[in-house]
């Protein structure tokens, strides 16, 4: 992500808009291309040299924010490492100890003092079993600008191949692990990421975010949870108007903030919202509005409005939730395709607000006449997962929730107190008609037939 000083946006009255760049514009494509080449050419070289080369590009260029911003995103794909034969701290500590007995160490020696510096360096080098040059260079090899670029995207510096392979990648900007399926770095990739990053940077000062989504609920809410945001959730219809029940919902509106937002407008969660943003372009249809706190350089703060939606042409580098959580679910869906029933199986169609958590039942089952149940499968998992799942099911407390539970699990009908007749026990696979039978019994009228 961009650092705050590289953000670019325009404020007009009470709205704020990122200054997106046109990724097809030649000038930007050339800059992106040039930067990528610079990074590739500096594999194995010190970070300081890389940065100096980038700085050269911005000397008479007022677009330096764009250039430095693009470079920052490329740096996020890099790994820099200290390359030295002996721990640099150890080298310099020995040097200083030795030197302290040998002062004055000077450049323009008078008689008798002229070999002091060389003596200090070479005696430490000998003691450590390294060359004089290694000793001199290794002394500060751990300085940020002396660290070597050992990996850029998928490309690894030859000499450092082993080292880079054994280390794990954690991106400090909070990009999620699964997002690190970095594609080959191209100008297109970079310019697309850049526009997303500009939007993220506006959110650093956000106090509240309101999103509306009409698909990919599981993906969206897993990222809400991943980035530690709190939510209020409202079912909405296709026009974005709130409706009474999730059974009648086409989509969901979620108001996102954090624990302390209850007491005052806090921009503390802005970084989390910025991290969350790339989850939205994973939806086919989405809208986002955020309140941005603006100091405006003066003592008065005002709240600006920032809006984005699926027409803004942003794209995500985050991973979408895979279609099915388990084989049991996939198999059921395949069987359903082939089965002859008026009931339709719809994947993760409901978002149940349980306060601190949400529950997304695996399926909804809808009849064309408007009847509807929601359907959760409790398959094979760890005891903790099972406990959490059971708690959620009890808390959801929905009359039209039916559950399929594996007989291999260590639970009994007592665990489903009060709803045990809505439980379907299964051994290895779930039969479509067993589910349909339960649906017939517990479905409610959710919408009127068309």
């Amino acid at each position: 992500m961009l650092t705050a000083n590289l953000a670019r946006s325009r404020t007009h009255e009470d709205t704020i808009t990122p200054l997106f760049i046109d990724a097809s514009e030649q000038q930007y494509r050339e800059t992106a291309e040039e930067l990528i080449q610079i990074f590739e050419a500096h594999l194995g070289e010190p970070k300081g040299d890389l940065e100096d080369t980038i700085d050269q590009l911005t000397i008479a260029d007022t677009d330096y924010k764009v250039v430095q911003g693009l470079a920052k995103l490329l740096k996020d794909e890099c790994e820099f490492e200290t390359v030295a034969p002996v721990e640099p701290h150890e080298i310099r500590q020995r040097l200083f100890e030795k030197a302290n007995e040998s002062y004055p160490i000077v450049r323009q020696p008078t008689l008798g003092e002229d070999t002091q510096k060389l003596e200090v360096y070479s005696s430490v080098a000998d003691a450590l079993g390294i060359t004089l040059e290694e000793c001199h260079q290794g002394m500060y090899a751990d300085l940020e600008e002396h660290k070597r670029l050992v990996r850029f995207g998928h490309r690894v510096s030859d000499e450092c191949q082993d080292a880079a392979e054994s280390s794990t990648t954690t991106q400090l900007t909070g990009d999620s692990e699964e997002s690190y399926a970095a594609d080959t770095i191209t100008p297109d990739w970079l310019l697309t990421r850049y526009n997303l990053a500009l939007a993220q940077a506006v959110l650093y000062d956000a106090t509240e975010m309101r999103v509306r989504v009409w698909d990919s609920f599981a993906t969206v809410f897993s990222y809400v949870k991943l980035f530690g945001l709190m939510h209020r959730i409202y079912p909405i219809d296709s026009n974005g108007n709130r409706v009474g029940s999730t059974d009648a919902a086409d989509g969901y509106e979620a108001i996102l903030d954090g624990a302390a937002s209850l007491f005052s407008k806090s921009r503390k969660y802005g970084i989390r919202m910025a991290n969350f943003l790339p989850a939205l372009p994973l939806c086919d249809r989405w809208e986002m509005e955020a309140d941005i706190l603006d100091d405006g350089g003066g003592s008065t703060t005002q709240t600006l409005s920032f809006a984005l939606d699926d027409t803004d042409d942003l794209s995500s580098h985050y991973a979408a939730q895979s279609d099915f959580d388990s084989d049991v679910e996939r198999t059921l869906a395949q069987k359903w395709e082939r089965a002859n029933t008026d009931w339709e199986l719809i994947r993760e169609d409901d978002v149940l607000d349980l306060g601190a958590e949400v529950m997304l039942p695996d399926f909804a089952i809808e009849h064309s006449d408007g009847r509807r149940v929601i359907f959760e499968i409790v398959g094979f998992w760890t005891p903790e997962y099972l406990a959490e799942k059971l708690a959620k099911i009890r808390e959801a407390n929905r009359d039209n929730l039916i559950v399929a539970v594996s007989e291999r699990l260590d639970c009994s009908s007592a665990d489903f107190d009060g709803m045990d007749d809505r439980v379907l026990w299964f051994k290895s696979g779930i039969h479509v008609y067993d589910v349909v039978e339960l649906a017939e019994e517990y479905a409610i009228e959710a919408f009127s037939a068309e």
Binding site: A60, Y64, A99, K117, H136, E144, A260, R267
Partner: protein, 469 residues
Amino acid sequence: MRLSFDDGTLLLEDAPEAVPYAEWDDRVGEHRAQAQHYRPIRKWATESDGQVTLEESTATVDEIEDDARAYSDFYLTPSVAIEPREYQQDALSAWQDNGRQGSVILPTGSGKTFLAVQAIADAGVSTLVVVPTIDLMNQWHATLTNAFGDQLPDGVGVLGGGSHNIADITVTTYDSAYRYINEYGDQFGLLVVDEVHHLPAPTYQQIPEMTIAPYRLGLTATYERADGAHEELEDLLGTVVYREAVDELAGEYLSEYETIHLQVELTDEERTTYDEEYQIYRDYVDSHDFELWKENGYQEFLKRTSYDPQGRRALIAKQRAENIARTAEKKLDTLDNLLKRHYNDRTIIFTANNEFAYEISQEFVVPCITHQTETDERTEILERFRTGEYSMLATSQVLDEGIDVPSANVGIILSGSASKRQYAQRLGRILRPTDDRQPARLYEIIAEDTVETYVSEQRRQGVAANADS
């Protein structure tokens, strides 16, 4: 009622309607309060009319389950066996009498850190020390390690500047504290905030808000703010419990030293480049009527550099010229001579940029401290300088506001910024004569006929009004 720490707040589950300081959180269907109200909420829950204790059935809340507190008690004795000065003792007593809350105003150089050490030992709980800069963080780390290090199994923790290590006593910067306080706000019983006048800001004030620490201590030399925002500190940390005026201490700790100014010429090559670059800058500025001697004149110039390519070039020209002057080759020759003269003294060499500090470190094999030096190594180098294991030290601008480094009797400034305040503080703090016969000495090496000459003039006028300029 169950209290728990939740992302920088207190979640109050099954709390009665009347619970004070709390608001209903419809998102989770429980009451929630700011973490800073931990102490009064506990007090309210455990002693309804000020007398009754938790054990008795008349308490406001039948049962209180406290999962919020994650900090520990311990007993520490500061290993520095210095007698507290009278005003430090008075300040400590005043703070204790105020329920171990509130701010203490002491002039710079009067041992604020020492007072904090006493307060930490007195409170006997895990402590978070929050300071404005990484430099100060390093300095506090050194002092606290000195005082308590051997009594803490994991040493003194550091959060910030690339370190992320939480211990029973942890030092952090305002920025890192703001970033992480929602994670660690339950782990400390005492919150110490240095230079507390910086705290009233929408972001930073969330640091005290998001910690449950029942004990709080603010420290500063300049409590009052022009915008009046210091009044908010009372809610965040407590009232001012002690104040010592500047002149009551003046003279006592200031040391005598003599200053020697040395000028060096730029090499021919440096001179050519310097003149070229400086000219680019001058031409641009002269052709645009900036009133640079006024504060907003320079701001205007900077603003222009963000959209005018020539302006951007002029800004870079200025930076390049300044850098040539700062790192002039012949400064090293002069330094060379000084080191020959003073190799038996305790010498600190100042530079204004990291690169130059490292160059000197490699060239003269001198230990070096910059912004990049990790806290542990910095503490180690300073400790070795203190004990005499190292007699020389090179450093870039790390000796800012309120820092107390081991004394030296020779200081060499190779370059510095024009900030008068910074300059005065730097000098006063480090130089002490090693014996009575010879005064401490400060050399300032500047490049002739450059902007540095001007800056140096400005600087001396700031330090002493009667300087012979």
